[in-house]
Amino acid sequence: MPLERWRHWVALASRFGAPIVGGYVFTYGFVAFAALAGLWLGLSFTESKTLAWMLSLVVYLVAILWGFAARSVTVVWLVLAGGGIAMSFAAWALSREII
């Protein structure tokens, strides 16, 4: 039984962690990527960053809502954390390309 209980708590932590922690990772990558995209689209970097931060609040909000509504926690983790890491890496690499 203790193992059952332990599993229950891990599942619960994952249920809340996926939208909140995963969503943060996604937002983190999004801001860097969006700031870069804005620059590429012709905004000044200051404006581009401001827009990225404004959108980031909406992105994180949607990520949280979706993360709670989605059926599979694993999918939430994969999309949010995976997407966030991918965008972070892309922003890191691309920003060094275009200087």
Binding site: V31, S56, L65, A69
Partner: protein, 566 residues
Amino acid sequence: MRETFRQSMAYLHTWLGLALGFLLMVIFFFGSLSVFDREIDRWSIPETRAPAAPLPSFDKVVLPIVPSVKPDADDMARAAAEVIGPLPPVETLRATGIWVGSNHRDPLVRMFLEFDIPNKPVDPNQDHGHVHGNTAIDPATGQRLTGGLEDRLAIGTRFFFPMHFMLHVEWAMLGYWIVGLAGMTMLAALVSGVVMHRRIFREFFTFRPEKNRLRSTLDLHNMTGVLALPFLFVITFSGLLIFADFYVPSVTKLMRPLEKSQETAEAGRTGLPEDPAGQPGQLASVDKMMSDAKARWAERGVPGEVGFVSVTHFGDVNAYVTVGRDNVDRVATQEEIHFNGMTGELMYENPPTRPIEAVKGFLYGLHFQHFKHWGLRWLLFVGGLIGCACIATGFLFFVEKRKRKHAAAGSIGSSVVDALAVTSVTGMLVATATMMLANRVLPVDLPAHDTWQKSIFWFTWLATLVHAGLRSKPVASGGASSAWAEQCWAVAALATMAVLANWVTTGDHLLKTLSDGYWPVAGVDIVMLIAAAAAGGTAYVLSRRSQFFTAAAREMSAPAVGSQNV
């Protein structure tokens, strides 16, 4: 994850709301008080109860004060942890940046100084470090604030205001992170709250106080939530946006080389030097630049006063001076003109704001509230309190809905939530009123006068938690905690005593402040009296209701015994 989208939104709303609602209560309440932070400052430091003052002469008043201001000890400690090698002694540091500004609600002129430090930062993504010092100028004397007034606790700007964005949890900046998470929770709670209810617009007009308590609590929760929905969303959004660069620092962390090159390019476009030249230079007359700026604003059809002046690279030949308009007549933040510090010539005038920056300026301005519009200011204050009511009724609903079920199952869940709700609603008011009273009663020559006030606040709050815990037993068996009524009585008594203590210690009773038209102090007194009356009224109703229920329970049990004979 639940059966339907609506059900999973209800799950999110209930459990995230419960987990972070207690903090949201604190954030919204102290945020509301911060709308009147300068007024609370005046109340808490009676020596500074004077009319608001304009910016004094920079050349004659501000500059002579600069050498006397030293970096803050706390900030030195923070910087020491972020750089390599020991910091140079405080006495050898010279100010390299000056900011001085006035506010239409403040009799003191605030001054912030920046000092360059030579040490390399530990984090290579960081620019070279600074330490900061600050002071306030009393325009009546043209001197730094004296008589120990500088060290006195300005409860509004130095305690209530920071509470609402960092909870005074300084370790690892944890307080800021917690508030950020709570803010995101608020946004999620607002959206999920709307999704949960099919008949949102009917609920907008539904309040059935005569119905059972469960129903009327929910009505009040929905009504306050929907009524203030646009306000609650925008104030939370703008608050989060102010700290967004801190919460999500990925641009700097991941793309520092690009960011740096972009900053250099943008600085090149403005012509404002990014770095000092390393050669000492003598500052030209800043007063002249201030009048020049005013003339330019008048020419453009936006005449106004100077709200702030800042000097970048102070003491260097690359120094430049930024003069900002006091934007009392609009929500959005500053309009700025930059002058060459050596020659006083115009260097760069910020171009008309582009859409993205204009939206940001409006959102920042709405949150910082530098405008001069008392109607809007009160509206924002009341909006914040409606937010508090919405959060508090959320707790009440949670407890009311579950307590009988929990009682039947032998769970203490709802009694714990009820005790925490008491602490975060009435307990917070008790602690706040006690602090205000302590501020007036403690002798000012008491060593660590400010620490005393803060400690009294925290320990009182802790005491209300203990009290709520001790009184919460009836909730576990489906009843009501008497802590609500008892703490309401305490709020009524303490807030009234604070107003009386203000009269006794300063002579500024309401008749005097009202006839003098000194609204900062009169306003704080009036709000405390209204709070006392509301708390007293609530306490009265709650105690009567509990007497009624006790009597009703007795009557109910009597015929029940008799009925067995029938």
